[in-house]
Chain length 464, copies 2
C-alpha cells in the first residue's frame, strides 16, 4: 500500500454479492468439515491434486452449455487490453468482443480442470488414477439461499477403470463421510442406461436429452408438472403414459429391479443398466451405517449429459432439518478427456457440496465444540516483568502443544477478563510477584470460576 | 458439460502462464508446509479467517501504488457488459473503460481484504485481534523463477495493540516455524523510526520516501549503485556521505544499537526507534533456536510506506541452499483500517512466503517422506469373489485408520504389481481361495520383497 491510501476519501467497505467472509469459528468449522471429507478420501486411496484458479478461457468454454458459458467469470487481459482491437465493430458487441479482451477465466467446476490435468500429465499418471481435489469454484449465478458465487467442491474420481467395484467404493465413501458428519442421508442411485432403456421401450429415443431434462425437474414441479412439460415438448400421449408408469414406480430396491427387468426386456441397453445397477446395489460390501440408506430412484436423471452409466445423488434425510436439497452428486462417464486429446478415459466420480453440507451442520448444531476451540489459556498482563515471565511460560506450554497467549497490553484487569470471556478462552493465568517468587501459577477456570495456585507441571495437566 | 463437448475439435490443453498444477506429492508436501505454519499460528493464539477471492475493484484500487493497480486481475461484468456504455469515447481508452466494464477483481494480497474485514466486522471483533489467513493471491506480474501469478500468502497480524510484546511474539513465531521446517534463517529487524531519524540527522527529511526506496535496492545494486541512485535523485553530496556511513555499519546488535544511540541523539523520532528496537531485541524471551539468528539491519527499509515502526524480513541462511532471497516479511503500522472508516487500528504482522519456502524445501529435500505417503496397502484383484473379500478387509482396515484399496480391475498380476511399485505403495496383499478359506492374508513387503501369510490382526500391526 502506498501513501495514496491515506489521501483517498473513506470507503464504506462492502463485499461483492454472492461471496462471503468466514469468521474464525466458521473457518474452523469449515476446516473440520473438509478434514472429515479429506480423511475418507485418503483412507479410500484417493490422491490429492490442485489446479490453478485461472484456466485458459478456451479450456472452459463450450463445456457447460450456453447457459454455463454465460456464468463463467472472465478476466480482462492485462495492460492495454483494447490496443489489439482492429475491427472497431467488435466494440458494439459484448459477446464478440469478449475473446479479444479476455484469455483467462475462473474455474467453474473441478471436472474440466481435472480432465485437462489428466490429459496434460498422462505420461506421469498411473492408471487407474484415483484423485481428490478440494478447491473453490466460481459461478456468476443469481445468489440465493444455499447458492453462492464462490463455493467449494470436494471431488473424488477414479479414471481409467470400468469396474463396478468403483461404484461400490463410492457408495461406501459417501456413507462413511456422512456417518462421521452425523446426519442422516439417502443415497439415490440410478443408471443412465436404464433411462436409455426407458426411452427405447417408450419410443422416444430421439428425444432422449429432453427426456432426461424433464425427468430432472420432477422434484421441483411434481408428476403433473412433468406431464405438462412432456406435452409441451411434443411427446406422444401413449409415450407419456408409459414414461409416467416408470416414474410412479415405488418399492424396495429388489422390487424395482424386478419391475425393470420385466419392463426393459426388449431394450439391450436397458437390460445392461439393470445388470449394472443390480451388481452395485447387491454387492455384499454395501452395508451402510444405520442412519443412511441406498435407494434406487429411476427418476434420478442428473442434468449433465456426459454421464453414461451409474448416477448418484445424496439427499439430506435428517428429520431434524428443513433443508432437503441435493448435497452431493456424481456418476460414471465413458470419456472424460477426449476433448483434450486423450480418448478412452472412462471413470466415475462424486462431488460433495461442502457449502450446502456446512449449512445443514450449522442448522443442526453438529460441529463439535473442539473444532473451533482456540487458545487454551490467557495470561493476564500485570506489567513488564510479569508479562515477560508469562511469555516464558507460554513458550513452554506451546512446546507441549498447548495454545497459549499473553494479553499484550497492561490494561485494566476487568478488560482483560472480559476479553477472555468473550473469546471463550477456558482458562486465565494470573502471575504476580508472589507467583514469580514461588514459581507457581494462579489458574482460573472460566467455566466454573474456581481458582487454584499450582506448579507449571500441574498447569500442563489441567490444560491437556 | 453438454454434448458440445464431443462435437468440438480437440484442444491441446495448456495452462495460462505463471500458474501451476500441483501433483499428488506436491499437494501433500504443500499441505505439510501449511500445516506447520498453521500449527504455530494456533499455538500463538492467532484465529483463522477467510475472505473471498473476489473483492470489489474499489476496495483494491489505490492501495498498491500505480504499478500495483496495473497488476490486479480484473473480472469482466457478467452479461452484456458493454450495454451501459453511453459515452462511446470510452471505447478508445483501456484505462477509462475499465471501471465501466469491471466491478470486481482478484485479491492482490491478504492485508487489504483483512483491513476491510476488520472494518466491516468491528462490532463482533474482540481487540486486540490476532488473526491468521492462508489463501492464494493473484498478481499479473511477469513470471520468473520463484515468482508466480497465483501464490499463497500465510499472514498473521495482531491489530488493536501497540505493545512491543507483539514484536517479540512475532520473532519467536518466525523462529519456531523455521526450526520445525528445518532450515536456517536470518531474521532481519529494523525500525522505520530509525530511518526517519537518519533522514533527520542527514538533512533529507523531504526526500524520505525516495530514501527508503533507494535503501531498499541495496541488496540488488550494492553500495556503489545506491550512491549513484542518490546522486541521480538530487541528494546533496554531504547527505549521501552521511547516509552511507549508516549503511556501511556492521557489528553485533549491541554495537549497532550503541552507534545509533550516539548518532541519532539529535532526532527525537530516531531515538524512539532505537528504544523500540532495543526493547524487542533485548527482551529476555528472545532465545532463538541454534540455526537461526536475529540481526539488526538498518539497511532494511521494506518498500511499503504503510509501515511506521518495527520492520522484519526473513532470509534463507542455509549453507546448503542457492536461494538466498527474502522468504517472509512484515512490520508495524499505525493505521490499518482508516481508509475503510475505522481509524486508530495499529498493529503488527508477518507474511510467510509459502511458495518460496516450498521451493527451498524441495531444493534441500526437506519434506518428510510421511508427508506424501498415501495408500498403505493394495489388495491384488484376482476376480469377483476375491475382490469382494478384499473389499471387506479394506473396510475393516479403514476403520483402523489405515489407507487401503483394492485394484478395481481383474488385470494381470504383473500389471497390478507394477502399479503398486510406481505408486510407492509399501505393501501388497494377496487374497486367493486358500486365504479366504483360512481367513488369512498373504502380505508382501514391497521394499524388501519378503512375503508372509498372516491373520488380519497381525496385518494391522504391520501396517500401523
Amino acid at each position: 500500500m502506498t501513501e495514496k491510501l491515506y489521501k483517498k476519501t473513506i470507503l464504506k467497505p462492502s463485499l461483492p454479492k454472492g461471496v462471503r467472509d468466514f469468521s474464525p469459528t466458521q473457518t474452523a468449522n469449515r476446516e473440520y468439515l473438509f478434514g472429515v471429507i479429506k480423511k475418507y478420501f485418503k483412507l479410500y486411496g484417493f490422491l490429492p491434486i490442485e489446479t490453478p484458479a485461472m484456466e485458459n478461457l478456451s479450456t472452459l468454454t463450450g463445456k457447460y452449455g450456453d447457459e454455463g458459458d454465460q456464468l463463467i467469470f472472465k478476466i480482462i487481459n492485462s495492460g492495454d487490453y483494447l490496443s489489439k482491437i482492429e475491427d472497431k465493430n467488435l466494440l458494439n458487441d459484448s459477446a464478440k468482443l469478449l475473446p479479444h479482451i479476455s484469455e483467462k477465466a475462473l474455474r467453474y467446476d473441478l471436472t474440466v480442470p481435472f480432465a485437462r490435468y489428466v490429459s496434460m500429465n498422462r505420461n506421469d499418471i498411473e492408471f487407474p488414477f484415483k484423485r481428490y481435489q478440494i478447491q473453490p469454484v466460481w459461478r456468476a449465478d443469481r445468489p440465493q439461499k444455499g447458492r453462492y458465487r464462490e463455493f467449494y467442491q470436494c471431488d473424488a474420481d477414479i479414471v481409467g477403470s470400468t469396474s463396478l467395484l468403483n461404484e461400490v467404493e463410492i457408495v461406501n465413501l459417501i456413507d462413511d463421510v456422512f456417518a462421521e458428519l452425523n446426519f442422516a442421508v439417502s443415497i439415490k442411485i440410478n443408471n443412465r442406461k436404464i433411462l436409455n432403456g426407458i426411452a427405447e421401450v417408450c419410443n422416444c429415443e430421439a428425444q432422449f436429452t429432453q427426456l432426461t431434462v424433464i425427468i430432472d425437474k420432477l422434484d421441483k414441479i411434481g408428476i403433473e408438472g412433468v406431464k405438462i412439460e412432456f406435452e409441451k415438448s411434443g411427446f406422444e400421449k401413449n409415450t407419456i403414459g408409459n414414461i409416467v408408469e416408470f416414474l410412479n414406480l415405488k418399492g424396495t430396491n429388489a422390487e424395482i429391479l424386478n419391475f425393470l427387468n420385466d419392463k426393459l426386456q426388449n431394450s439391450k441397453i436397458g437390460m445392461e443398466g439393470c445388470e449394472e445397477l443390480k451388481t452395485v446395489v447387491e454387492n455384499p460390501n454395501i452395508t451402510l451405517n444405520e442412519n443412511n440408506n441406498l435407494e434406487i430412484d429411476i427418476t434420478l436423471a442428473r442434468g449433465l449429459n456426459y454421464y453414461t452409466g451409474s448416477i448418484f445423488e445424496v439427499k439430506n434425510n435428517d428429520a431434524r432439518s428443513d433443508f432437503k436439497n441435493s448435497i452431493s452428486g456424481g456418476g460414471r462417464y465413458d470419456d472424460l478427456t477426449g476433448i483434450f486429446g486423450l480418448p478412452d478415459t472412462p471413470g466415475v466420480g462424486i462431488s460433495f457440496g461442502a457449502d450446502r453440507i456446512y449449512d445443514i451442520m450449522e442448522e443442526l448444531n453438529l460441529f463439535p465444540s473442539e473444532a473451533s476451540s482456540f487458545t487454551k489459556v490467557l495470561f493476564v498482563n500485570f506489567g513488564e516483568n510479569e508479562a515477560n515471565h508469562a511469555l516464558m511460560l507460554t513458550k513452554k506450554l506451546r512446546q507441549k502443544n498447548i495454545a497459549a497467549e499473553v494479553f499484550p497490553d497492561n490494561a485494566k484487569m476487568k478488560k482483560q477478563m472480559n476479553f477472555a470471556n468473550k473469546r471463550n478462552i477456558p482458562f486465565v493465568a494470573l502471575i504476580g510477584e508472589s507467583e514469580i517468587n514461588n514459581n507457581t501459577i494462579t489458574l482460573k477456570n472460566m467455566q466454573n470460576g474456581t481458582q487454584e495456585t499450582i506448579t507449571f507441571d500441574e498447569m500442563v495437566l489441567r490444560l491437556s
